[in-house]
Symmetry: C2
Subunit: 220 residues, 2 copies
DNA sequence: AGAATAGTGTCTGTCAGACAGTATCGC
DNA sequence: GCGATACTGTCTGACAGACACTATTCT
């Protein structure tokens, strides 16, 4: 690209998280087009000023078109920029993360993308295209900070869940064990949780109470 | 502007803070050019892909060109976007804030800008151009969050300062009084402060110890 | 001595961590 | 009863808030 560049390339990238097998996972796509064809990357795409109402709208569109999935409230993390991060020229990418409930993890493959894969978000085990390795680390850090600050990652859980499931989810995000007693004591006061009155069934142990997110719960 | 828009307008805006008279202040400029000519706004400007190494570099350039000032480490807050925020079309602006030491507050006026003014950052007392009122609130919030999380706003202070000055600075940011004993107790452990061994002179009361930022201190 | 600001000591309540104990299910 | 998981109680140490106290300068 040797044209005189008046405008930067503007895109959004999305770190879509889920928790499975006690592990925080992120969705990676194998790129089907240049640049960085065949490399693993976070899903992303260029802004479409005609169609997008905002960067957040663009992030939702990317998830809808590439992964065929809808999420609540993508959260903006930061904007990465510079002349070197994309071979096509001066570019910037605004990074979002989003949380996918564990019972929605049937991400359907679509066109344009060769392959999808859920990978350990803390250690994807490969270099990602562009600056996406750095972006992923930022997104994980932002998510951890939120959870450390007592925000409950309820969007990662099914409609109804037990306190133990919630604890395991937080542990997967923070990558350390939490004390059950401390964890529950803090949740006593939480206005974000509603006791449904129902209990788990079918386990071969004492049933657990089922909770759901309060009507007013918002991530952010 | 009715041309079919392929690229969004990309700019940076900067909330430059200082603390003066026990008040957190932000630098506003009166715009000399359309759009929003004559309106008060945060200093900002369009990205120049030819010259800027990154968005942060663009923020530094804006401060240098418009205000003739250099600051340490502008901090990225968020990116605002949408078709409606600038009359010229689909636009996005990445917001930074920066801290100016109280002894550097001789911001020189330059061309392009009609007027500069330091204004109460918590209550600028006027509507700002574009979405800059919202941006300012975000920047203040981000700064407050940092200070609440124990980060010391040393870049707002002169080279050497007393603990009382530091406390007054934090109070101006958080807009509430802090307890002297508690404040100092926490600073005992801080690796960010170095006791210079010098004392204030010239006051008509007991001299105070002078501190400076540690070599390793970084904002962020 | 008195004003003014610098700096310290101490009591108390809150809360996190650690860990042990009790409860209730299936088998 | 036993294994397994759900849930609760309690001790302790760290720390924040509140507030009174001492220290050191100038006038």
């Amino acid at each position: 690209m040797s044209r005189k560049q008046l405008y930067p390339l503007v895109s959004v990238d999305v770190a879509l998280f889920c928790v499975e097998d006690g592990q925080l996972k992120v969705l990676l796509v194998r790129r089907a087009q240049d640049p960085a064809r065949h490399a693993w990357a976070l899903p992303g795409g260029l802004i479409q000023p005609e169609g997008d109402a905002s960067l957040e709208g663009a992030a939702l569109r990317v998830l809808r078109d590439k992964i065929d999935v809808h999420v609540e409230a993508p959260t903006q993390v930061a904007t990465f920029s510079g002349p070197g991060r994309d071979p096509r020229g001066w570019s910037m990418a605004t990074l979002f993360y989003a949380l996918l409930p564990r019972d929605h993890v049937q991400a359907v493959e679509k066109h344009k993308v060769e392959q999808l894969e859920w990978t350990d978000a803390h250690d994807p085990g490969r270099a990602l295209a562009f600056d996406h390795s750095e972006q992923l680390a930022s997104a994980v850090g932002a998510l951890q900070q939120r959870v450390s600050a007592r925000q409950l990652p309820l969007h990662l859980l099914p409609q109804e869940f037990t306190l133990t499931q919630l604890q395991r989810t937080c542990e997967a995000i923070l990558r350390r064990d939490l004390d059950k007693s401390v964890f529950r004591r803090r949740l006593m006061d939480s206005a974000d949780l509603v006791d449904t009155g129902r209990l788990t069934e079918g386990g071969r142990q004492r049933p657990a109470r089922l909770f759901s997110a309060a009507e007013e719960f918002r991530w952010g």
